[in-house]
Every structure is written in structure tokens, then in C-alpha cells.
């Protein structure tokens, strides 16, 4: 094998009392894709941040082409050819796509930005990333998440990387976009780049990786050629637990005759939702499937009173309701809860304490005459922390200091405290480690067993197959297929997501 392009030895990084990286050794070779796996909090993000110059390691050495290097900031790492596609997108919403792609190093003439040349290069790079449909003059703020991710990749390509790091860079992409991104990555590998690929999707890793490293508790516990360990073994290394228990067993189907907790008839909204009719009965977990951006999010928002100007009828426990706001939706008479998609902006007040975050949605329950009853609040919060096994040093620390998985548990707990009878979830396990995922699956099933109606939108087909009693597949804002029981298979989900048998519903 060729000598490594970048090698790390004994890299350590602490944040306060937390040891994020603890003596990491890693060698990255040109012309190979190196997958890094691990639960959230295993040290993957810190590893990337050290390599990309976002933070500086406390100990250890990094050598590039055999010479020791140290990066003061991301610009320095870029200059050395190390480019990172961050999970938290690094795009600037008020600038155009072309401005973003060539943000730090636009083509210049006489010191001034040459817009014509910039646009030309942006178009080229978008094409290379398989995103010709994005107009280079569009503002990034006007693009959906999946398009932004492609812009982010185009931007990384524009920096002529020698080492390209992708941190969950495909998490919001549709299957078709993933395929075209993978073609790009394989091309880059042929051209001799070193690539680091981080993903929670085992299928993607199997398709792409040449080498794998598994991280646990800030250490690199194993590095091995891809394909030499089974998925089960890899997951075992990550969590030291048995993978087969990831999905709880499904109970027998809820009888058809049970009156639904949530019944929707002919729901529409602008040009995004069309004539949606379905019902969710107490005790059921119903999935929303399909390609990303087919109206799943809008449907959940509509049911939570966020959208204005919806048409059609929504019944809760048989009663027609007009949901005018989230406050209305969560009121005791409706009992609806929405676990939102983006926990950092829609789910949590990051600088506030874990305790305050937990009780936000149920302040009405724990206060009397407008004054919060601290005792009642504490009891309710403690109950939830135990129920969900939230790991926090102290309930008074800012929720921002928790790991991603624990943050998501706080969002869930916050809504469970309102004792909802209808639980809506928007991709609740995105970017979350395997262990926490399994806990969330068990929790959903338990909620259903206790009589809640659960509506789960997920971009992960395995999750829909593993968790749901029924799955509604959306395409273009319409339900094109309903799958139930053993009929929920990957083949059926993919086929109906692409609307290959959609004639019956169109």
C-alpha cells in the first residue's frame, strides 16, 4: 500500500471533564475510502474537527506526507488540501449558490471577484456533484435541505481536496441523489484522493468503503479492511450489545373496527398536499414513507396546526377539529405532540437547562394560577429522565452540552410529559447512534401499547420496516400506497416511493 497521506498518532482532545479523543491512531491512504463508525459521542465529530482545523488537539501528532502539521483554523487545513463536508451545513443562507460554492476562494481579476468566471465554475462543480438542476444564482435560503447538501458537496469539490471528509453528508439526500454522490466519490477515489466517510447507514458503508475504523469512547477500537467483518460484528464493536434486539417485536394488528384516534379526510395544502385520507388507531404505529420531500413534513406540520390555509377534515377521537396553532393541537382535548425534525432549532432552547427544556411543553400542567410549582415540575421531570434514561451530569446544565442522542431524548421526553394521545414524529433518529435509536424504537412501541396513536416519518427504510404496523407511502403530496404487516418490505417501499405502481392512486 502507498504511504499514508495523513496519519494521526496519539491524538487526544478534552472538553472540560469530557475526554472526546483519547490517544487515537489513524492512517489515511490516497485512493482509498475510509469509513469511520461509532455511536454518537464516540469521538467521530471531534476527530473530524481536529483534522479540519476547527479545534486543535491537546496531544499527539498529525503528519501530512510525512511532515508534522498543525492547523490553526479551517482555512489552514483547506490550504493543506483537507476539506470537510460538515453535517451541520456550512452554507451561508443569504448568499447565492455560486457565492457559497466558491466562498473563500473565488476567481478574481485585479483583486475583484470575477462573477462570470465564478458562475461558470459553480455550474461545472454543481454538474460534477450531480446537481445540474440547481441554479447558481438561487439563494441558499430558498433551497430545501437535500439540495443544500449537494451544494455543500459541490463546494467541497471546488477546493481541490487531497483529503475529503464527509460527515453524514448523505443523511438528507434522496436515494437518487445518494447514487450520484457515490459515483462522484468513487471517481475521486480513482483520482487518488483519500476520503473519510462517516455514516450511520451500514448499506452505504458496505458499498463505498475500502477500510473501516470503529470508534468507541474516544478510541479507535479496530481498523480493518471493509467486508471482513459482518454488520453484526461491527455493531457489536460499536456498542457492545446485541443488534438483533434493535427493533421490538410487533404485536398483532389492531382490529379494523377500533375507532381511530386520528382520522384525516381529503387533507390538502397549496400545491404540496393533495387529498390525503387515512386513519391512525390507538395502539398503532403508522409510518410515512417515500422519497424525501414528498409532503411528509408538511403533513405532520398540518396536523400540528402550523400551516395556514389547509383544506379537508381532521377528526380527533371522532370529533372534527380546527387546529389553529401548535398550542391548540397540544391542548388536552386534542392531545397531539410533534417531535420536530430539527432538534436544535425547533425542539430545544439550547442555552437553557435540561430541566427547563423538559417542562416547556407542559408548563400548564405544573403551574397553578400562572406560577410554576417547582415541586410538581421536579417530579414530572425526574419521572421522564428515568423513563428515557437521559444521561446528563446534572439537570441544570445547558441542554446544548448533551450528546446528540440525549438531546433527542430530551425532545421526546418534553412531549411525552404532555401525555399525548397522538404522537407525530419527523425523522426522530436522524444522526443518532444505534443504541439510542433502539431505545427510541422501544419507546414508540410502548407508547402505542399504552394506547397512543403514533405517526412516524422516517427517511430510513429499515426503520419503517422494523417499527411500523402500516406504512403510507407519499409521492408528490399524495398517498400512493399503503403497506401493512409482512407486505412492508424494502422492495415494496422503494418501488412505491418511486411511484412505479402509482397508477391506482393518481
Amino acid at each position: 500500500m502507498t504511504p499514508p497521506l495523513l496519519s494521526l498518532s496519539g491524538i487526544a482532545k478534552r472538553y472540560g471533564a469530557t475526554r472526546a479523543l483519547d490517544g487515537v491512531d489513524l492512517a489515511l491512504h490516497p485512493g482509498r475510502i475510509h469509513a469511520v463508525l461509532g455511536e454518537n459521542g464516540a469521538g467521530k465529530s471531534s476527530l473530524i474537527k481536529c483534522m479540519a482545523g476547527v479545534v486543535q488537539p491537546d496531544a499527539g501528532t498529525m503528519t501530512l506526507d510525512g511532515t508534522p502539521v498543525r492547523f490553526a483554523d479551517p482555512a489552514a487545513a483547506n490550504a493543506a488540501g483537507i476539506v470537510c463536508v460538515f453535517q451541520e451545513l456550512s452554507l451561508i443562507p443569504d448568499l447565492s449558490v455560486a457565492d457559497n460554492i466558491l466562498a473563500a476562494d473565488p476567481p478574481r481579476r485585479f483583486g475583484l471577484i470575477d462573477r462570470r468566471e465564478q458562475r461558470h465554475r459553480a455550474e461545472e462543480l454543481l454538474a460534477r456533484a450531480g446537481a445540474e438542476d440547481i441554479h447558481p444564482l438561487a439563494l441558499v435560503r430558498d433551497l430545501p435541505l437535500s439540495r443544500r447538501q449537494l451544494v455543500e458537496i459541490a463546494k467541497a469539490l471546488g477546493r481541490r481536496p487531497r483529503l475529503l471528509i464527509l460527515d453524514e453528508a448523505t443523511s438528507a439526500l434522496t436515494a437518487r441523489d445518494v447514487a450520484s454522490v457515490f459515483r462522484v466519490l468513487k471517481d475521486l477515489r480513482r483520482q487518488g484522493l483519500a476520503l473519510v466517510f462517516i455514516s450511520h447507514r451500514m448499506g452505504e458503508i458496505a458499498e463505498l468503503a475500502d477500510d473501516c475504523s470503529v470508534f468507541r469512547n474516544g478510541r479507535n477500537v479496530a481498523t480493518f479492511p471493509a467486508g471482513t467483518r459482518s454488520d453484526g460484528e461491527v455493531v457489536e464493536m460499536m456498542i457492545g450489545r446485541d443488534y438483533s434486539h434493535a427493533y421490538p417485536a410487533k404485536p398483532p394488528p389492531v382490529p379494523e373496527a377500533t375507532p381511530p384516534a386520528l382520522a384525516v379526510r381529503d387533507l390538502g395544502w397549496g400545491d404540496r398536499l393533495h387529498g390525503l385520507s387515512f386513519a391512525v388507531r390507538p395502539g398503532e404505529v403508522v409510518g410515512l414513507g417515500g422519497l424525501d420531500g414528498q409532503g411528509q413534513r408538511e403533513l405532520l406540520l398540518a396536523l400540528f396546526g402550523v400551516l395556514r390555509g389547509t383544506s379537508g377534515e381532521v377528526r380527533v377521537d371522532g370529533r372534527p377539529v380546527a387546529l389553529a396553532s401548535p398550542a391548540d393541537a397540544k391542548a388536552a382535548r386534542n392531545g397531539i405532540a410533534l417531535i420536530p425534525e430539527d432538534r436544535k432549532t425547533e425542539g430545544l432552547m439550547l442555552p437553557m437547562s435540561v430541566r427547563e427544556n423538559l417542562s416547556f411543553a407542559s408548563l400548564g400542567r405544573v403551574s397553578r394560577g400562572g406560577v410554576i410549582d417547582r415541586g410538581a415540575e421536579r417530579r414530572a421531570v425526574d419521572e421522564m429522565v428515568q423513563l428515557l434514561a437521559i444521561k446528563a451530569a446534572d439537570l441544570d446544565v445547558p441542554v446544548a452540552s448533551l450528546s446528540g442522542g440525549n438531546q433527542q431524548k430530551v425532545v421526546l421526553a418534553k412531549w411525552l410529559m404532555t401525555r399525548p394521545r397522538i404522537v407525530l414524529l419527523a425523522d426522530p433518529t436522524r444522526g443518532i447512534d444505534v443504541g439510542t435509536k433502539a431505545e427510541i424504537y422501544r419507546l414508540l412501541r410502548r407508547l402505542a401499547d399504552e394506547g397512543a396513536a403514533v405517526l412516524l416519518y422516517s427517511t430510513d427504510y429499515a426503520e419503517l420496516i422494523g417499527c411500523c404496523d402500516r406504512v403510507l407511502v407519499l409521492y408528490g403530496g399524495r398517498i400512493v400506497r399503503e403497506l401493512a404487516g409482512d407486505a412492508i418490505t424494502e422492495r415494496a417501499l422503494v418501488a412505491s416511493a418511486l411511484n412505479m405502481n402509482g397508477a391506482e392512486a393518481a
Partner: protein, 327 residues
């Protein structure tokens, strides 16, 4: 989609401010006893240009999602400094001009350093520094006075051939020399990026510290240009506390009218110039319509509220309530 739609979207705030200004100014001159004459235009231009300079200065800082409450004080300090230095032989005058502008730049840089290296909040840092700058002005000019070179002053505030006010030409020339290259430079882009999403700008490897420093420095420079023009109009300097605070607040009103977002990341200096001209024209309209001076501040406040609300009209059309909260 074709390109012009995107270009139109970028220029929307500026174009609508320009249109509103033309409309209001037409209304003003139609009702002015002297009508649309070179002298009316010159007087209006001279008042408008003062605020326009300060507003353009404020624009740079607001683009970074900051705010500069010392622009009025720098404006007054430059005015007082000019009344002392811009006099005497042509060489003295030239040196004086350079010194006034350098002082404005230095004041702005100091603000920038407080915000960037001192990590102070812009509001607090510039309230404090503004008080210092005003103190300096008062020390320079305890009593109004001075003797600014009148040849230069008359040339820059008079009329050119065809009745074009010279002050407008000065403003246009400065914008051409500073704003156009700024908009097309990497640092200029970084200023927008910092105001739009600072963390993303940092991760993109943009020079965010230099961008902030530049924004505050340019705010100081433009405020000083405004102060210099004031000295040319009055041939003197005056450490007026009222003027200092009025110009600071009016600059913010002007940029909002001109379509600059107080959240940072969006807007243009040209829009800010039209915002300033609109703000001044409204003042003049109140005068020609003979509104009781007692009601003028109230009316101006209503106009400002109205302008801001116009910018928020689109919120009524939002069908997804989450978008009310920005992205």
C-alpha cells in the same frame, strides 16, 4: 429560470427605495413655493447627503448583524476636527482633510477592535466609544466656531453645470470608489457571510475577523465623511449632542427604509442612500404641508413604523407559521 429574476430579487429593496424617493421628491417639489428649481434640489441634496454618508457607514456594520451607535459621535467629532484642521494654505487644507478621514477610520477601527478582539457586544462597545468620541469633540470645540476653507467648501456644496448639486456627485464618487469594489471583494463577501451565518462563514474559511474590522472601520470613515461635509456646509464645527444622537438614530431608520436587514446579511449601501433621502424628504414634506412642529416627531415615527411594516407584509402571506421565525 432566467437570470434576470435573480438579479431583480437582489435589487428589489434598493429599487423600491429609489422609486419611493422619486415619488416623494416629486410630491415635495410640486408643493414647494419655488417649484422644481436648482436651489431647492441643492438644499435638499445637501441635507440628504449628510445623513446618507452616516447611513452608508451604518450599513456596513448592520450587514455583519452588528450595530454602531457611535456613528453620530464620529460624525460630530469629524465635524469639529475639520473646523480646526481644514483651513490655511492649500497644503494645510489637504493635510487636514486626510487627518479628519484618518481619525474617522481610527475611531471605526477602535470600535471594530473592541468587538472583534475585546469580544464586547456591539451595542455596549459603541455606546461607550461614542461617549468618548463625543467627549473629544467637545474638548476640541467647547464653543461652536472655526473657519473652514471656504473655496473648497463652496466648491463641494454648490452647484455644477446644469444645476447638479456637487454634494451628490461627491457621494456618488465615494460610493463608486468604495462600495463597488467592496461588493466584489472577498472581504465584502465575508461581511455579508458573517451577518448571515457566522459559524458557516468560519467553517468556510472566510476571514471573519478582518471582515468585521473592515465593516466598523468603513463605518467610521463614512461617518467622518459626513462630518466633513457638515463642516463644508456650515464653515464651522459644533459639538452638538442633539445632532450626534439624532444622526445615529436616523441612520438606523434610513437603512431600514432602504431595505437593509437589521438581522444582517442583506441590503446595499445604495438602498441606504435612498433610505436617507426618503427620510429627509419626509421631513421636508412636513414643512411644505405646514404641519405643526409639535406633531412632526410623531408623524415621522408613524412613517418609520409604516416603512418597517411594509417590509413585513410578506409575513401575512406565509402559509407555514414556522417561517415567521426566520430560518
Amino acid at each position: 429560470m432566467s437570470d434576470w429574476r435573480f438579479h431583480l430579487r437582489d435589487a428589489k429593496g434598493t429599487l423600491s427605495a429609489a422609486a419611493v424617493f422619486v415619488l416623494l421628491f416629486a410630491l415635495y417639489t410640486l408643493n414647494h413655493p419655488a417649484g422644481f428649481s436648482a436651489n431647492v434640489v441643492q438644499t435638499a441634496a445637501n441635507k440628504g447627503v449628510l445623513l446618507a454618508f452616516v447611513a452608508v457607514g451604518q450599513t456596513f456594520v448592520v450587514l455583519t448583524a452588528g450595530i454602531d451607535l457611535s456613528v453620530g459621535a464620529i460624525f460630530i467629532l469629524a465635524n469639529c476636527l475639520a473646523s480646526v484642521l481644514v483651513t490655511g494654505t492649500p497644503a494645510h487644507v489637504a493635510l487636514g482633510l486626510a487627518a479628519v478621514l484618518a481619525a474617522g477610520l481610527a475611531c471605526g477601527l477602535a470600535n471594530g477592535a473592541l468587538v472583534v478582539y475585546g469580544r464586547l457586544q456591539p451595542i455596549v462597545a459603541t455606546i461607550a466609544s461614542g461617549a468618548i468620541y463625543f467627549g473629544l469633540a467637545l474638548w476640541l470645540r467647547p464653543e461652536p466656531g472655526g473657519d473652514v476653507d471656504s473655496t473648497l467648501a463652496d466648491a463641494l456644496t454648490g452647484q455644477l453645470a446644469g444645476g447638479l448639486p456637487a454634494s451628490v456627485l461627491v457621494l456618488a464618487a465615494v460610493l463608486l470608489l468604495v462600495w463597488v469594489p467592496f461588493r466584489r471583494s472577498l472581504l465584502g463577501r465575508a461581511v455579508y457571510a458573517v451577518g448571515s451565518a457566522e459559524a458557516s462563514a468560519y467553517l468556510s474559511g472566510l476571514p471573519i475577523r478582518r471582515a468585521r474590522l473592515l465593516a466598523y472601520a468603513l463605518a467610521g470613515l463614512f461617518s467622518a465623511l459626513g462630518g466633513l461635509m457638515l463642516a463644508f456646509f456650515t464653515y464651522s464645527g459644533e459639538a452638538s449632542a442633539t445632532n450626534a444622537s439624532t444622526y445615529t438614530l436616523d441612520s438606523i431608520a434610513a437603512i431600514v427604509i432602504g431595505g437593509v436587514s437589521l438581522f444582517g446579511g442583506a441590503g446595499s449601501a445604495v438602498g441606504a442612500v435612498f433610505g436617507a433621502l426618503i427620510f429627509r424628504t419626509i421631513n421636508d414634506l412636513l414643512f411644505v404641508f405646514d404641519l405643526d412642529p409639535l406633531w412632526q416627531p410623531l408623524f415621522l415615527g408613524l412613517v418609520l413604523l409604516g416603512a418597517v411594516s411594509l417590509g413585513s407584509l410578506r409575513l401575512l402571506r406565509l402559509k407555514n407559521r414556522l417561517e415567521l421565525f426566520g430560518s
